[in-house]
Symmetry: D2
Subunit: 163 residues, 4 copies
Amino acid sequence: MRIRFITTGGTIDKIYFDALSAFEVGESVIEHILTEGLVDFEYDVVSLFQKDSLEIGDDDRQVLREFIAKDDATHYVITHGTDTMPETGQALDGLDGKTIVLTGALTPARFKTTDAVFNVGMAVATVQAAKPGVYIAMSGQVFEAGAVRKNRAENRFEPIDRN
Amino acid sequence: MRIRFITTGGTIDKIYFDALSAFEVGESVIEHILTEGLVDFEYDVVSLFQKDSLEIGDDDRQVLREFIAKDDATHYVITHGTDTMPETGQALDGLDGKTIVLTGALTPARFKTTDAVFNVGMAVATVQAAKPGVYIAMSGQVFEAGAVRKNRAENRFEPIDRN
Amino acid sequence: MRIRFITTGGTIDKIYFDALSAFEVGESVIEHILTEGLVDFEYDVVSLFQKDSLEIGDDDRQVLREFIAKDDATHYVITHGTDTMPETGQALDGLDGKTIVLTGALTPARFKTTDAVFNVGMAVATVQAAKPGVYIAMSGQVFEAGAVRKNRAENRFEPIDRN
Amino acid sequence: MRIRFITTGGTIDKIYFDALSAFEVGESVIEHILTEGLVDFEYDVVSLFQKDSLEIGDDDRQVLREFIAKDDATHYVITHGTDTMPETGQALDGLDGKTIVLTGALTPARFKTTDAVFNVGMAVATVQAAKPGVYIAMSGQVFEAGAVRKNRAENRFEPIDRN
């Protein structure tokens, strides 16, 4: 099996510049996480954007969707900012034969304590174990895209209550 | 969904005592990993053994199997030493209605660099995404128990070639 | 020997809130660093401010100076933001019988990679080994206060060239 | 100022091989620690031994002493196993014009939690701030060689009571 990782920016890749006292999206940490995870599968990493997810718009989502539609891979893990991850998940709906898992982090991977490594581990397992479709792996859970939202006040992902 | 974690020892939980210059299995790190992963599901942790997996014998496997058979939970993540993880996986075969994922670590979770967090992330996703059965989540891959072995020389898990 | 630690805020104690995408000064990490350093001396920690050092003004420096002047301890390590650490060092000049070492961090102690632990180690050694006076321990060096500046462009502390 | 680091092995540099379930002394971590400490001074690193300190004998100490005696540097930080660090410190006594600080770690630098970074920070400050002589920087304290012992039961360094 081969996994194609697509990075789009977000908190998972944020770095901190003291001079500015500001955060910016830096080089992706995905290869570092996979190396530390001692993974033994084939993969490559494509960097499409380096954006905070609040800056990712419908045009960007269309670029991402078309990239995957025309691409020859079948298994994707996409790292993405958390604020609009559910919207991007829905924008990728209906791509036949593609298994797509979005993940990211609530705290930067460059922190001592971060959910990034755990989340990428979840995404890598989900892309192998699930049938084609679009999923979000966050907060220790695997959600189908369209059935999940970010609860900003509680800083977690949760199922949409559809009663 | 509720996940029951069962710890049995192994490298994932190893600690180092300078006085002895030796490793021993210590308190489980599983709750620390789940807290860092910012998980938001119900779980509990049962400690059955604290053994190096080379010391886990058929009697222990029988204890583990009976514990799960009589237990009311349906989703299990078992942390286990790597050397005999495949044998334990096979010993748990055929428990109806139970989804069981074994994982562990090739380097202790208490190291700066460890595969433990990534692996537990994989196991947590697999136990949610897979149908009932027994799985091993190691080396970045999800294997069915019975179809995997540890390659000690290469220090990785790989599929059994069944030609 | 007894060391009194005084925390004033700064990058060393910064934490990151995803909701705000902003950094704020959080609880001091000094006790965590000393515990990890396996130190075996008596100490206490006094929190005077929780400020970015650009917000520390002459009034604050006067408060700090008077606190130390009236205090019964003799050995102080002060954690402080880096931007105005040299100014604060000079403001503490001439307190008889007091050995005072200022330190901090160029990257937050809560990062995976940080200079905070190394710097606090330097400060703890300096306060024991140096004669009374005011020192700054940063960039792997021990400077006398008044003979050091922060080079913001290079993000390091360096001696003032007094030719 | 220029510091010459001499590595001799010990827990600070220990690595763990799962296949053997044993620890061995690995490549020195000293350069990694100095890089993380954002130090800005000139230094080089000489690796003399890679031994557990229980294996360092009087012959080794003589080799170390002669190396320093004939060497043109004046400031040394020596990383060393903790069990016989006091003996090595005493064996280096009386080298005129040399400031020598021994340090090491009670837990390996490759652990998530380690005293190695703090201790090297202490040693780097001591070698700059102290007058010529031989010192041991451990347990958060700077000791003169000859006035310190390792308390194995308590896993700490402490002053020798010379009443």
